[in-house]
């Protein structure tokens, strides 16, 4: 890959330089989501007690039922946290709709031709084929992350719709409540399946270490950005250069202004 041919001092300089990748709103929403999911997933699994489905081991059910005192309390806790989660996520999306959500969806989530090529190459490379082939440059999020985000958005909506259906039980006919349960289950565990990859890539995989710390600081090094998200890095660079040009222009103008004024004295 091209970035491996960069001379050492330049590489060190790139490592020092930090670029802002995530804004504070997204970071806080992300960690709020993590906390909610931990609470909701553990209690949610504990609720599913049908022996015919046989999903949750009995000790897990009993533990959580004993913590909360009864099944009904456990369910109440689950949907109270659930409603807080729905409210905060929707609130954040709606309040930041124009400032955060629309740019995020438009610039970071849409798939382009490079992404499709990446998706056709990367899985094969993971299986050990086509190792020599170079991956196309990626945006702020690579194609895998983009696909993941689609699953998350669709399944999150699924959870947010089916959950309240089961809480406001007198408003919905039985057939709706019957169907809502497996949909809720499928939405949750589709995300959980992706979550294994998400957590591993984000928190354990050595090459993506910076991605993990960027979820706290919001910043990644230019070196990491160049290696993993080249298109986004180039964009940032372009912005930077434009900004530099603009500053330079202003400096020149102000000097010119000074000169003119001093000439008049």
């Amino acid at each position: 890959m091209s970035h491996k041919n960069i001379p050492l001092p330049e590489r060190q300089r790139l490592r020092q330089k930090m670029l802002k990748k995530h804004n504070l709103a997204n970071i806080l929403t992300h960690w709020f989501n993590v906390a909610s999911w931990l609470l909701l997933l553990t209690t949610g699994i504990a609720i599913i007690s049908s022996p015919r489905l046989g999903i949750t081991p009995l000790w897990w059910q009993e533990t959580f039922r004993n913590i909360f005192g009864s099944d009904a309390n456990l369910i109440r806790f689950h949907y109270t946290i659930g409603f807080i989660w729905i409210f905060v996520i929707l609130f954040n999306v709606l309040i930041g709709f124009r400032k955060y959500f629309v740019p995020f969806a438009a610039h970071r989530m849409l798939l382009d031709r490079d992404d499709i090529e990446w998706m056709m190459t990367k899985p094969l490379q993971m299986l050990g084929f086509k190792k020599e082939k170079e991956l196309p440059p990626q945006d702020a999020y690579n194609a895998g992350q983009k696909i993941y985000s689609y699953f998350v958005v669709v399944c999150t909506l699924g959870i947010m719709v089916t959950g309240p259906v089961m809480v406001y039980k007198s408003l919905f006919p039985p057939i709706v409540k019957q169907i809502a349960q497996p949909i809720h289950f499928v939405c949750v565990f589709t995300i959980v399946a992706w979550l294994f990859i998400h957590v591993y890539m984000g928190a354990v995989f050595p090459e993506e270490k910076e991605a993990f710390f960027s979820m706290f600081s919001g910043k990644v090094s230019a070196w990491y950005a160049r290696a993993h998200h080249e298109k986004w890095y180039n964009e940032k660079l372009k912005e930077e250069m434009e900004w530099e040009d603009k500053v330079e222009q202003e400096v020149l103008e102000s000097e010119k202004f000074k000169e003119e004024n001093s000439g008049a004295d």
Partner: protein, 258 residues
Amino acid sequence: MPAKNHYAFVIDVTRCIDCRACLVACSVENNVPMDHTRIWVHDQGVQGIWPGLSREFVPYNCMHCDNPPCTEVCVSGATYKDAESGLVLVDQEACIGCGYCVEACPYGVRYIDQKRGVVDKCNACVQRLQVGLKPACVATCVGKSRLFGDLNDPTSEVSIALRNAKSVTKLDYEKGEVDTDPNIYYLNLQETDSIHSSDPFDQVAQTTLPRDPHYTISEQGWKKVAIPLMALAMGATFLTQAIFFTKQLLEGEKEFED
């Protein structure tokens, strides 16, 4: 684990006159909505050839089975077999009224109270049992057709009645994995293992009991499609990350060279 008590109904079919006082007493005691009931009386119709004609009325309600199929399907654990009394009860605060159990019950004794959005059924008047009273239907039965008590106690009314009975019938349902072992003991019911109503005016009760437990499409889909699919997906992703993690542990971390 066997329950501490083994509560059971003993119903003498020959003593039932289809007065339905039990239905009224039950509805009053348990605030059952007007368009529902927790107890039914099957009219078996006139049977036999003249002059040997007979007519049977078979009262029934929740059989509080030893192996209830309804608790097997309940997702939230709202319906459960009580460890203390051995009764099958519904925790209506945990129930969402999806009706999986209504479909699964071979005796059709559960109904959905849409106003509250929960499932309701006979609870053997636990609120009365706790203060030492008999269930409302038993207390009110004019012909002493209905008896209720603890089978673990050999001196109880039901134990004595069963010991002295000429014929005892249980409407047991046994097919495949389901073996209900109901706890309503019918005395003097004609040789049959099912009851069929021929009452032309009772549209609701026009069924043969016990029927096959019915598992809804969503429940079946959940069990047979969704769970294997999700297990596969999670297995695949977990395995993928596990392989990469082991590789990482074995080969050591390849950090970027400075």
